[in-house]
Subunit: 470 residues, 2 copies
C-alpha cells in the first residue's frame, strides 16, 4: 500500500526506454495501482513532439491492456515534467546519435580513427546540471536517476554542485551473466560483485555453488577461448564480454572486466565517457578492433558497428511507430509482459515501498572504496529500501586496478569537470594531446578548434576560452 | 663549536660532485675544523678504485691547501663507508651513462626516439633501498641525502619501506635564477617558491621588490621571447629554462615551470625519472626538440645533446685526473674557493650546528601540499635547523597543475614502485604501452622483452615475472 508517486522522464522520446519503464511499473503492484488504489503518474518530457506523442500513445495503451491505473502526461516543458515529481529520470542525449557522425567525420579528416579524440561532455553535463538546478527549485526532495552518459562525470558533478539526491544506473554489470553463461555456469546461480566507476568495473567476487568461480574462467581461457574466438557469432555489437579484449584486460590487471569496462570508449565525441587512454592499443583501427573484439563489427565502437547499431535503432523506432499507429495492435504481444532488466523501477519500489533489494548503483563514494575521494561517484552494490540507497562497503581494490584503471580514469573525470566548470579551452586541448592517436601538437590544436566550430557547438565554443596568459 | 661528524659518499667517484662537497665543507667553519677543533671525516665509497683513488688524492690535497682539518677515507665496501656515519649521500648511478646508450640503441631499433620508452628504475631503487637497509643496521640515526635520480621515486620508496630519515636534493630549482636574469631582474633580489615533485615544480610565487614579478614574465614573452628564441646561444645543454618549451608549459598550466619540469624526461632508460607522458609532444624527434628547446642540441635529452654532455663529462674527468697526477698543481686555483651551489653542506651545517636556513628539499608530504598523500615525497621549501627539516606549508596548488602535472606523475611513481615491489612484469609492459611513442601492443611487448634481456639486466629480468593468470 502506498501513496501514488510521480515519475518524470527527461528524454522520454526513447521509446524502448520509456516502454520498458512503463512495463516495469505495470508489473509492480505497489506502483501500478491495484485494489482501488491509484497508480503512479508518469510524465514524459522530450523536445521531439512526434516521438513524445508516439511514446505517450504506446504507454497509455500498454497500461490499459495491462489493467494498470497509471496516469500519463507529455510535455516539452522540463519544469512541468518536474513539478511534484518524486523521481526524475534523465535519459536524454542532448546532441543525438546523428551529430556524432558529423564529429567523427571531422576527427577522421584530422587523422583520428573513430572516437580517437573527444571534446569532453559539455552538453550532457550542462543538461544534467540544468535538470538538477530545476529540481532544486521545483522538486527538491525528488531522486534523480541519471541514466544518460557520462554517468560517472554527471553524477559526480551533481553530487558536488547541487543538493539533489542522485543515483546513476547502467546496464554494464549484467556482463557477469555472459561470463557465467559462456563458461557453462547458470547466471541465476552465481553470486558476484563488480565495483569501480561506471564503465570501469571489476569482478572482485565470482562465486558458484559456494566456491570461487575464477578457476573456471581460467580453465575456459586455457582450453576453450581460442575456439570461441574463432567461432562465436555475436548477436549484437555489444556481444563481446568474452572477447580477446576482455581476457587481455584480465591478464593485464588481474580481475575480469565487466560490461563496458574493456571498451572504455564512450558513445561519441561530445557525449559518453571521454576516451580513457588505458587501452588505446585495442582501438587503433578496424583490423585491430576486429582482432580484439571479434568479427564482424569489432565491437560497438567502429564505424561498421555503429552503423549496425544505428540501423537497428531506426528499425526499432519504425516498429514502435507502426505499433503506435495501428489501433488493432496488441501491445502486450508486441512488447511482452516480462519485466525488463532495467533496475529503475525495482529501485523506486524499494525506496518508496520498502521492497528491499540489492542493486548496482552509482552513488557518492563516502568511504565505500578505499583510496577514492568521498565526493567521487562510484559504481557499487547497494541495498535499496525506504532507508535510502546504502552502498555495501567494498574496501580496497587491487593496486594494479587502482593505479592502471581507476585512478587514471578518476583524473580524466576530474579534468573534464574542471574544463566544464572553468570553461578553460586549454584543458580540451590537453585532452586531445592526451589521445594516443595524436601525433603532434598542431594536430591536437587543429582538431580541437574544428570540433569546437561545428554547427550546433556555438554555446560550447563560446563557453571555452583560452586562459589569460595564453 | 661542534662535534666532528662523518659523511659517507656512495658513488664518490664522481669527482666534480665529491670535490664540490669537500670544498663546501672546507668553507664551513664548524665542519672544517678550526681553533684546535677537529673537522669532519669524509668517507668516499665507489666501486671504481681508480676514480676513488683520484678523488681521494684531490680531496686530501685540496683540504690541505685550504688548511682544513678533515679526515678522508676511501673504500669499495659500502658498510665500511656507512660505519659511524652521521650523513650518507647517495649519488651513485648503478648502471652508468654508457649503459644508457646500449638501451637507447635497442629502443631505437623498436621505433622509439631517444628515451621514448623506459623500463622503470629497478637498479636505482634497489641500490637506494640496499643503502638504507644497511644504514638501519649500521648507522640508524644518520640522514640519507638522496642526490641520485630518480629522487621522487627513491625517496618515496625509502620513506615507506625504511626507518631512515631521507632528504632528496636536486639543482632544478635554481632555474628561478635564469628566469630572473633573462627577464632583467637581479636573481639575488627576487623571492620565489616552486613546490611540487622533483622535476615537476611550479613557480607559485615570484616577487621582485615586494611586487609580483609574473607580469614581468608576461611582458618578456609578449615583447622579447621571439627574439630571444632566435638569437640565444646556449652555454650548455640544460640552458633552456626560457625556451619555447617552458613558455608553452606556462601557457598550458598557468604557472611557470622551473628546472627540469619542462623536460620531464629522465637521465635514461633504466634510471632517472620515467618519462612522464605529460608533454610527449615536445619530445617526438630531433627537429621538434630543437624547435621547443632551442638550437643546436634541442635540450639535454637528444642524441646530440647527450653526446655533448658525455664529451664534457669525459673532458672534466680528464682534467681532474691530470690535476690529481700533477703534484705541482694548486687545486685551489683549479677548483676555486667559492662555495658551490650544492645545498648539501649548508643543510648538514643547519642540522648539526643549528645554522638555520631555507632550502628546497624533497621530504614526505605530511600535509604540506593539499591533495597529495602524506607518504609521498614532495619538493618544497623547508627550514633546516637543529630542529630538523621542517617543510613550509604550501597549501593547495592550482587545479590544472594538480590534474595535468602532479597527480598523473604521482600515479606514474606509484606504478613504478608497485612494479619494483611486486616484481610484476606486466606493469613494465603497461609503462611501455603508456608511452606515447608506442604504436601497437606488439611493439611494446617486443621492446620491453628486449630491454629486459640486455646484458647486465639479468637480476632485473629475473625479478620481473608475469602474473599467474597471464
Amino acid at each position: 500500500m502506498s501513496t501514488p508517486i510521480k515519475i518524470g522522464i527527461i528524454g522520454a522520446g526513447s521509446a524502448q526506454f520509456s516502454l520498458n519503464l512503463v512495463k516495469d511499473i505495470c508489473l509492480t503492484d505497489a506502483l501500478a495501482g491495484s485494489q482501488g488504489l491509484a497508480g503512479s503518474q508518469v510524465s514524459f518530457m522530450d523536445l521531439n513532439p512526434e516521438r513524445l506523442d508516439m511514446v505517450h500513445k504506446l504507454a497509455a495503451r500498454y497500461a490499459d491492456e495491462m489493467g494498470a491505473d497509471l496516469r500519463f502526461e507529455r510535455t516539452t516543458d522540463r519544469r512541468a515534467c518536474l513539478q511534484d515529481a518524486d523521481f526524475v529520470i534523465n535519459t536524454a542525449y542532448a546532441k543525438g546519435h546523428e551529430h556524432e557522425w558529423v564529429m567523427r567525420d571531422v576527427a577522421a579528416r584530422h587523422g583520428y580513427y573513430y572516437d580517437g579524440v573527444q571534446l569532453g561532455e559539455y552538453y550532457q553535463l550542462r543538461l544534467a546540471l540544468d535538470i538538477a538546478r530545476d529540481m532544486e527549485a521545483v522538486c527538491p526532495d525528488a531522486w534523480l536517476i541519471q541514466s544518460a552518459n557520462p554517468v560517472f562525470n554527471c553524477c559526480t558533478l551533481l553530487t558536488r554542485e547541487t543538493s539533489i539526491k542522485v543515483c546513476g544506473l547502467c546496464h554494464g554489470h549484467y556482463g557477469y551473466r555472459e561470463i557465467a553463461e559462456t563458461i557453462g555456469l547458470d547466471p541465476d546461480r552465481v553470486t558476484w560483485q563488480a565495483p569501480g566507476f561506471n564503465h570501469n568495473i571489476w569482478l572482485t567476487h565470482f562465486i558458484a555453488e559456494g566456491r570461487d568461480a575464477y578457476p573456471r574462467i581460467d580453465e575456459w581461457i586455457a582450453t576453450q577461448a581460442e575456439e570461441y574466438w574463432k567461432t562465436h557469432v555475436p548477436e549484437h555489437t555489444h556481444d563481446c564480454q568474452m572477447s580477446r579484449a576482455a581476457v587481455h584486460q584480465y591478464r593485464m590487471y588481474g580481475l575480469f572486466p565487466v560490461g563496458d569496462t574493456f571498451r572504455r570508449v564512450g558513445a561519441g565525441p561530445t557525449v559518453g565517457c571521454t576516451v580513457y587512454r588505458g587501452e588505446w592499443w585495442l582501438h587503433t583501427d578496424f583490423e585491430t578492433k576486429k582482432r580484439w573484439f571479434g568479427e564482424p563489427w569489432g565491437g560497438p565502437d567502429t564505424v561498421e558497428g555503429r552503423r549496425w547499431f544505428d540501423r537497428r535503432l531506426r528499425k526499432r523506432i519504425a516498429e514502435m511507430t507502426e505499433a503506435a499507429n495501428d489501433p488493432q495492435a496488441r501491445l502486450t504481444e508486441t512488447f511482452g509482459i516480462q519485466r525488463s532488466d532495467e533496475q529503475i523501477v525495482p529501485i523506486i519500489d524499494g525506496l518508496v515501498n520498502d521492497n528491499e533489494g540489492q542493486y548496482q548503483v552509482n552513488v557518492p563514494n563516502r568511504g565505500t572504496i578505499e583510496g577514492i575521494p568521498d565526493d567521487v561517484v562510484v559504481e557499487v552494490p547497494a541495498i535499496v529500501s525506504k532507508r535510502g540507497i546504502q552502498p555495501i562497503h567494498v574496501g580496497s581494490m587491487p593496486p594494479k586496478v587502482m593505479l592502471e584503471c581507476l585512478l587514471p580514469h578518476w583524473l580524466d573525470m576530474e579534468r573534464n569537470l574542471l574544463a566544464f566548470k572553468s570553461g578553460d579551452r586549454s584543458i580540451l586541448l590537453w585532452n586531445a594531446l592526451d589521445s594516443h592517436q595524436t601525433r603532434s601538437y598542431e594536430q591536437a590544436l587543429a582538431v580541437t578548434e574544428e570540433l569546437l566550430s561545428i554547427e550546433g557547438h556555438e554555446e560550447m565554443n563560446d563557453h571555452f576560452k583560452l586562459p589569460p596568459n595564453w
